[in-house]
């Protein structure tokens, strides 16, 4: 387990090694921290709620499920133990902010620690969010029956997961804040008892308790041990925004100092203490599903540093003293792969397969996802109809930190050091691959050097475990950029056909949408924000040649492009201003209208355009956040040059404005990179692109000026930050291209269409 605090003092190191040995039972068993102090967890199992973490509870059947913790030690340091990984999104720090605010803790002495990969830390709310609507009301959340159900589902799916833009709005809102408020109440209770005064007369500030009348005061640490004996309120009153001291403020991220001074440990940095490490490079089949038929390693065997060459059936690995030696030797191994059964050899084949499925679905086929009114009749009665076919390519995640995993198998147990978004699933994957119990697999989590969905997979972790078992010594496997680009899991390609019917006033009266890929969120394909009388949204499933993996904003990444481009087509067909056309359809939703009005104002939408410049707009609601964006381009050279992006987001309430803006900006740049250049092509069923020279990122000089504004509309469940910035940017960009040139971009990426 990694202690992800900014300070790497000797003490911190000692504490880390101690924590690393804590089992869940031991953790609960501690009740009171070894040597004194307080631990709080939120129990969620029906019939067995964790009332107080006294030794009584710890002596139970070990089945208590706990999904968040706060620790107050004798140095008055408050530690938030969070069940999410830190992949650059800044969630660790904001989760600590939320806990510390409710606890009235001294922010300078708040630390963050990542929860161990243990079933106790399932992110119940990540599941719950997608199961049923819920309110911010803590009393609702803590209600045991519901939570028992959610916990069960979470455990089944092993949801110790960081994704879905969920950390702040689920764990933060419902676990961190409750744990913080409950801990504060227990401290107040302990102080009241000690001083013989009513709890109502006690105030708290910066980790200190005060009683004004008597002049008594005490640090939290002084009463932490006694507080552990206080009853725990499962439904403590949470602060209202006017009482927030840390929430809503742009507090500096706790993970940044270590990332600047170089002490932060990413997966690729992990060096198991006291163990000599060897390194491995691997090659996987060029076409998914194929296997090694034979390998010729005669040259690799003679190369410097090489220890072993392994044919693992579905991949080949070379183990050596250093990664460089392993990779150089790997490059010389000649491998014959089996033939793929997939009929898809090129992207033309893939799109033809999509088209065949859409042809079969026709005008009414496929699985109906959403339907309203009578789209078919409305289309035939429309005074004007338009239709279009859209395509989106496969995309790679390309996180900055190369894929890597370190594993050591000894005495039937396996230790794994990995930067993963899903440590529990990874643990099960390793157990499966080695045919051992998950209890015998210990995950050591590190920071993630970017993920974007790529690190939701468990294949690499299993591969590393198998290599480590075969060699018998600790091995760090590193996947080359080429391997990660060509042999991974991908944002799906897709094709969509849409039809729209306009009435005599140019109002969008009918919308029909059919497409082939539907993963998550399930409603991403439905333009639910718009008031359209007759809607039909249909899913006609088609097979993918390349394996799917969630990619930043998942279905919204292609659906945002399809829907918001086509809405733009409808606006132009109606002869309406694209922004006003949308506004008219958003009437009745004050939040959406406000977001769009604000972005119009920021971007001077109604003002005149500079010579050769044009603007495009799009609005998408994703992961609970409404985001409208305007992209301004300069087409005077004949090629689109990105100039400005204005984004307005309403996430209900933003916990850390600077962190939120960073995430939206990141989503915009990630989305523009994909829109401009992102594409994986196939040749004989294998991916052509291999590295950043042919899978291009937007370069610094190509990134537009970006301005983000936040609307805190308040009383709604709060929305996410990591993903919502992305979906509107591609359509806003291509809508700007249409405004500038009359060229409608219906297939991404953009750049090669202007080469």
């Amino acid at each position: 387990m990694n202690d992800l605090t900014p300070e790497k003092t000797e003490n911190a190191k000692k504490e880390r090694s101690k924590l690393a040995k804590w089992s869940r039972r031991g953790f609960i068993g501690a009740g009171v921290l070894a040597g004194g102090g307080l631990l709080i967890g939120i129990g969620v199992r029906p019939g067995n709620p964790v009332g107080s973490l006294s030794s009584k509870v710890a002596g139970g059947d070990g089945e208590q499920l706990v999904n968040s913790w706060v620790k107050i030690d004798l140095n008055n340091v408050v530690t938030a133990i969070v069940p999410h990984c830190e992949m650059g999104q800044g969630a660790h720090s904001v989760l600590a902010q939320m806990l510390a605010d409710e606890l009235d803790a001294d922010w300078a002495n708040v630390r963050v620690m990542q929860a161990p990969a243990d079933g106790s830390y399932v992110v119940t709310d990540a599941t719950r969010l997608f199961l049923a609507p819920f309110t911010l009301n803590a009393a609702d959340w803590i209600e045991p029956t519901w939570n028992g159900l959610f916990t069960q589902v979470s455990r089944m799916a092993e949801v110790l997961i960081t994704g879905g833009s969920s950390s702040i709005r689920t764990t933060g809102q419902n676990s961190m804040r409750v744990a913080g408020a409950a801990a504060r109440k227990m401290l107040v209770g302990a102080a009241a008892e000690k001083w013989g005064v009513p709890t109502a007369e006690i105030t708290t500030k910066d980790s200190v308790l005060f009683h004004k009348a008597s002049g008594n005061s005490a640090k939290y640490s002084e009463l932490a041990t006694a507080a552990a004996e206080q009853p725990m309120d499962h439904t403590p009153t949470l602060k209202t925004p006017d009482q927030f001291r840390l929430m809503g403020k742009s507090k500096a991220r706790t993970d940044i100092p270590a990332k600047i001074n170089g002490t932060a440990e990413f997966g690729i940095d992990a060096v198991p203490e006291g163990l000599e490490l060897s390194y491995a490079a691997t090659v996987r089949p060029p076409v998914p599903g194929t296997k090694v038929v034979s390998m010729d390693a005669s040259r690799a065997k003679t190369m410097k540093g090489v220890l072993q060459i392994l044919n693992m059936e579905n991949f080949v690995a070379v183990v050596a003293d250093s990664y460089w030696q392993a990779q150089q030797a790997m490059n010389t191994v000649q491998i014959e792969w089996s033939q793929s059964a997939s009929p898809i050899k090129t992207m033309d084949d893939q799109y033809a397969a999509f088209a065949a499925v859409l042809d079969d679905a026709g005008e009414a086929g496929g699985e109906e996802v959403a339907g309203k009114g009578d789209a078919k009749a409305a289309l035939s009665n429309a005074s004007q109809t338009i239709e279009a076919e859209y395509k989106a390519p496969y995309l790679a995640h390309s996180p900055m930190e190369p894929l890597n995993c370190t594993a050591h198998v000894a005495d039937g147990k396996c230790d794994v050091w990995a930067s993963t978004q899903v440590p529990l699933m990874a643990r099960s994957g390793v157990a499966e691959a080695l045919n051992i119990s998950a209890e015998d697999v210990t995950m050591h989590q590190t920071y993630l050097g970017g993920a974007f969905g790529r690190r939701l997979g468990v294949d690499e972790v299993s591969m590393a475990a198998r290599v480590a078992r075969a060699t018998g010594y600790p091995v760090k496997v590193i996947w080359s950029r080429e391997e990660d680009t060509q042999k991974a899991l991908y944002r799906c390609a897709d094709m969509a056909r849409m039809r729209a019917g306009l009435d005599e006033d140019g109002k969008l009266d009918a919308f029909d949408h059919v497409f082939t890929q539907r993963h998550d969120p399930a409603q991403a394909c439905v333009p639910a924000i718009y008031n359209i009388a007759n809607t039909s949204v249909r899913h006609a499933p088609a097979d993918l040649h390349l394996p799917f993996q969630a990619w930043r904003s998942v279905d919204h990444s292609q659906q945002g492009f399809f829907i918001e481009s086509f809405i733009d087509e409808a606006a132009h067909a109606a002869g309406a201003d694209p922004l006003d056309f949308r506004l008219a359809m958003l009437k009745g939703s004050a939040r959406h209208v406000a977001v769009l009005e604000k972005v119009a104002e920021m971007s001077d939408w109604r003002g005149t355009r500079a010579e050769g410049h044009a603007k495009g707009v799009a609005i998408v609601e994703a992961f609970g956040t409404i985001a409208a964006e305007v992209v301004e381009i300069d087409m005077s050279s004949g090629k689109p040059k990105l100039v400005n992006v204005w984004a307005v987001c309403d996430a209900g309430y933003v916990m850390n404005p600077n962190g939120f803006k960073n995430q939206i900006e990141g989503g915009i740049i990630f989305g523009l990179t994909a829109a401009m250049y992102g594409e994986l092509e196939l040749e004989d069923g294998a991916i052509v692109q291999s590295n950043f020279h042919d899978y291009k990122m937007l370069r610094m000089d190509e990134v537009p000026h970006i301005e983000v504004a936040i609307i805190n509309s308040g009383d709604v469940p709060i929305g996410g930050a990591g993903e919502p910035g992305l979906p509107p940017v591609a359509p806003a960009f291509t809508n700007a291209i249409f405004a500038a040139s009359g060229k409608r971009i219906r297939t991404l990426p953009v750049a090669k269409q202007f080469a």
């Binding site: 990540a126 599941t127 969010l129 997608f130 199961l131 049923a132 159900l149 589902v153 089944m156 799916a157 092993e158 949801v159 997961i161 879905g164 000599e276 060897s278 090694v292 390998m295 390693a297 065997k301 003679t302 190369m303 410097k304 540093g305 090489v306 220890l307 072993q308 060459i309 392994l310 044919n311 693992m312 059936e313 579905n314 003293d321 460089w324 150089q328 899903v422 699933m425 099960s428 994957g429 499966e432 691959a433 080695l434 045919n435 468990v458 198998r466 075969a470 010594y473 080429e482 993963h519 998550d520 969120p521 399930a522 409603q523 969630a550 291999s690 590295n691 950043f692 020279h693 042919d694």
Partner: protein, 158 residues
């Protein structure tokens, strides 16, 4: 009883359960090692032996130097490029002409035919020699190492 109804509405739950199933695989048999070649034990003498010390000829020194260039440039006769263009037979080739590699506009328009002098100038300072080149790392400022790597490049495809 709530369970079923809730799950059927749930995109994420379905997705997560799918992921779980995928992680579990379909076979109860754990995957095997098909072939294991043990070249040597850890700590044992390297099969390839230590690198040749003492006086090296220029081409052999160039081969050592080129190890760092291999991150981007292949010298394989098959002509495949990675991050940088394939350099097999680069001596005497027109700059920006290797088929299948997407060069920067600057390099493509440079009108250089690679010889000892132009390679020397370019490798010493790619950005200075051809402003706009996308070779942003790998410059060799050491005269001897640069001379050696050019000798090594010239020796390929002879």
């Amino acid at each position: 009883m709530h369970n079923q109804a809730l799950l059927s509405r749930s995109g994420l739950a379905v997705c997560l359960l799918t992921m779980m199933t995928a992680a579990c695989g379909t076979s109860a048999e754990p995957p095997k090692v098909a072939e294991q070649i043990i070249v040597r034990e850890r700590g044992a003498a390297d099969a390839a032996g230590p690198s040749t010390g003492g006086s090296q000829d220029l081409v052999s020194l160039g081969e050592d130097v080129f190890q760092t260039c291999k991150g981007c440039h292949s010298l394989d006769a098959d002509g495949r490029s990675s991050a940088g263009p394939n350099l097999y037979g680069v001596m005497g080739r027109k700059a920006g002409s290797h088929e299948g590699y997407s060069y920067s506009d600057a390099l493509a328009a440079s009108d250089i035919t690679w010889d000892e002098a132009s390679l020397d100038g370019f490798i010493a300072d790619p950005q200075g020699y051809i402003p706009g080149s996308e070779m942003v790392v790998g410059a060799l400022r050491d005269d001897e190492r640069r001379k050696a790597v050019i000798a090594y490049l010239a020796a390929q495809g002879e």
